[in-house]
Symmetry: C2
């Protein structure tokens, strides 16, 4: 017999079918056994009127009759006739995958990733992540961006050299890319609009719920902008379209977390950093520490303000200070102490950093001198600006943070299949 | 005035328009100047009846009248009225970007990547690469695969430890992933069918036209297979669909290289490695060296045989020897000296390696012992097999090799924006 997929069950009403999949749950009532079986297209209930020698978690092949069953939440069920174990469990599973919630602490959840990923609510996170990737790819192409892939191994000492992981590269030393920044700017000179989905590596010794040392960055860069609001408007449109895709295609997964996507405004509110600091002080009586542009509590309160004042989960914070932004960030025309750099916050968490870049060679060199940055190793990047790069800018979006906040997960690590932090290299 | 895009020119026939883009070429005949201008949607000729102060390579904004011009290969042209330089060139371009072919040697082409990438024939390579990525993403989703992203920083010593780049990871040592092998197998237990587009790193000191030390691997893994021909058939279908997309959407870029896609057979021929060795010896009088499964000349001749005998650019070579394949490769049932491992050759070059994997815990441990591989650091992977992994297998496809061979480029490095080899870390 040929296998049918679970989503083909309706077409086989009343017929004998063969399905293959994993036993997600099993209830044995003595003379009757209920199985929930999952394949890559869906889940279905199978009823056996005899004892069968399988258990939760095993890979099975089942022959039986497909029939309508309105009482089943799947609309159909299979009257099981024969069950063959395709692959069996040889060791007891250390926790109950059939419970509605795993309720494991984070280290246990991550240590047992092979198994915890099989839980339907954990699967849902990564189904939604798949939709997010598809959404970004689709929307960016619609907007005329070309997908690029740039090298993650870099010649040493670019962009200052702090917080980079070092690699032994044959007889040289190299570093892992923090972002595709230089390359995507170069590519503006080639395709005008480019995007990249790629690994980013940060050697920062963080121990928080919002940082990891390796993540997947959704990058973009676009040329011939009039000013940095062209970037903000593009990002607004991209996020809006992505959220529509996530809302539509991700519904079953969002439902499992009782999440209603509230939608992205046509015009996400923009507030200057200096203003939001004032507002946070006046409205919430919180002072953002002196040595930071905005701290996590400040971001949380900015998110609260966006919700209260604009009924929005999103808010752009703009005009980050010159002293805090990288050397390639375009200074603001009105106030050289400020830049055309921005963050996008979602539910009080920074999910995007972006901005306009300096596109004039002389200005770039002067800005580097002011910031005491040596050009060694960056010549290939700097040369680009001798050859007519148009005004441009872009962003880097943290894909996992987006999923974390959409599903309101406690830690970003729950939104990564095999996360890396200071202590965790395995699994 | 609002900018229009070059692909909107038809809708603006007879109207005054503003375009922005890069001057790809400029011919000055004294009283008449022809410019070819490119934006991210296309190219157009602009004619000025006066001298204008720009040069090839600059970023410009042009106002003029859009008009039909059947003699122009673009069908339309613009009668230029006003030209503004948006960003100018401050240093002479070291080679002529307006020539039909750059004809640079490979090191020069790569050293001057900022500029060489702007040449239309070089742009075409990466436009085709964009279509390839889109094709893979689209086709894999159609076939029910879920897109995953797995960590590229690995705990040390997995899979033997040879040919890995080493990283200093806080107080530990880590390695860069050669492939997502372990993770995609674990994910078969979660989603049954998964694919990944990600960076792969190989610390092999090669100096060839087909190797680089960092590349983008198109991976897949699928469960509940009957035997390894299920993988071969899936890969056959995926490649066939991808090539249809590339042929259709990539036509202008293929045309620039005079490439006709010959199409992928419904059934790509499969030949066992031992048989192809005999055939190569008998037909082409070439003996594949003893210490290798198949060498580059052998692959080239296998490709020649596929073309002559089957009229196919593709050929599967199957049943690679047990001694040459990694410990997780499923041995052949008929002959334990052979495996269910295969390569797919395209125009005489290996572009895919794949195979069925061992899915039974006991068999896997025994195979590791036979191969003298220690399980240290691999426990998270090995544990997976205690919990009922179905029969499965998959592949890793070299995205850049595929583009290299489609366009018949001399070196794989021409198909990578910023390639990495033993000597090259910059740009």
């Amino acid at each position: 017999m040929e296998r049918i997929l679970i989503n083909q069950i309706q077409e086989n009403d009343g017929k004998k079918v063969l399905i293959k999949g994993r036993v997600l749950n099993m209830r044995n009532l003595g003379n009757i056994v209920f199985l929930i079986v999952q394949d890559y297209t869906g889940t279905i209930q199978v009823v056996f009127s005899k004892n069968i020698g399988t258990k939760t978690g095993e890979a099975v092949a089942i022959e039986g009759i497909a029939k309508k069953e309105p009482r089943s939440k799947y609309g159909f069920e299979i009257q099981g006739e024969k069950l063959e174990i395709v692959s069996n469990i040889t060791e007891d599973i250390p926790f109950d995958l059939a419970k509605n919630d795993l309720n494991l602490n984070l280290p246990t959840l991550l240590d047992h990733r092979t198994l915890s990923l099989r839980h339907p609510k954990v699967q849902a996170i990564f189904k939604l992540y798949d939709i997010l990737l598809k959404g970004y790819e689709t929307v960016m192409r619609e907007e005329g961006f070309t997908e690029i892939k740039t090298s993650k191994i870099l010649g040493a000492a670019t962009e200052g050299g702090a917080n980079f992981f070092k690699i032994k590269y044959f007889d040289k030393e190299a570093t892992l890319a923090q972002s595709p920044q230089f390359y995507k700017q170069i590519m503006v000179g080639v395709f005008e609009r480019v995007f990249e989905i790629g690994s980013a590596f940060r050697a920062e010794p963080h121990f928080t719920t919002r940082h990891v040392n390796e993540y997947v960055s959704l990058d973009a860069e676009m040329g011939f902008i009039k000013n940095f609001y062209d970037i903000i408007n593009m990002l607004n449109r991209v996020v809006k379209k992505m959220f529509l895709i996530i809302e539509k295609e991700g519904k079953p997964y969002l439902d499992m977390y009782n999440i209603k996507i509230s939608g992205v405004p046509d015009q996400i509110p923009c507030v200057k950093l200096v203003e939001i600091k004032k507002i946070i002080k006046e409205k919430y009586n919180y002072t953002i520490p002196e040595n930071t542009d905005i701290d996590p509590e400040g971001e949380r309160l900015a998110g609260k303000y966006a919700r209260e004042k604009f009924n929005s989960d999103f808010i752009f914070i703009t005009h980050y200070p010159w002293s805090e932004k990288p050397f390639y960030t375009m200074p603001s025309e009105e106030n050289p102490e400020e830049t055309c750099g921005f963050d996008l916050l979602f539910k009080g968490l920074e999910i995007v950093t972006g901005g306009q870049r300096i596109h004039i060679y002389k200005q770039l060199i002067e800005n580097m001198e002011k910031k005491k940055i040596k050009p060694d190793g960056m010549e290939f990047y700097l040369d680009t600006f001798k050859y007519a790069l148009p005004p441009h800018g872009g962003w880097g979006m943290g894909s996992e943070r987006l999923i974390q906040k959409i599903l309101e997960l406690n830690s970003i690590k729950e939104a990564i299949l095999f996360p890396r932090d200071v202590k965790r290299l395995i699994p």
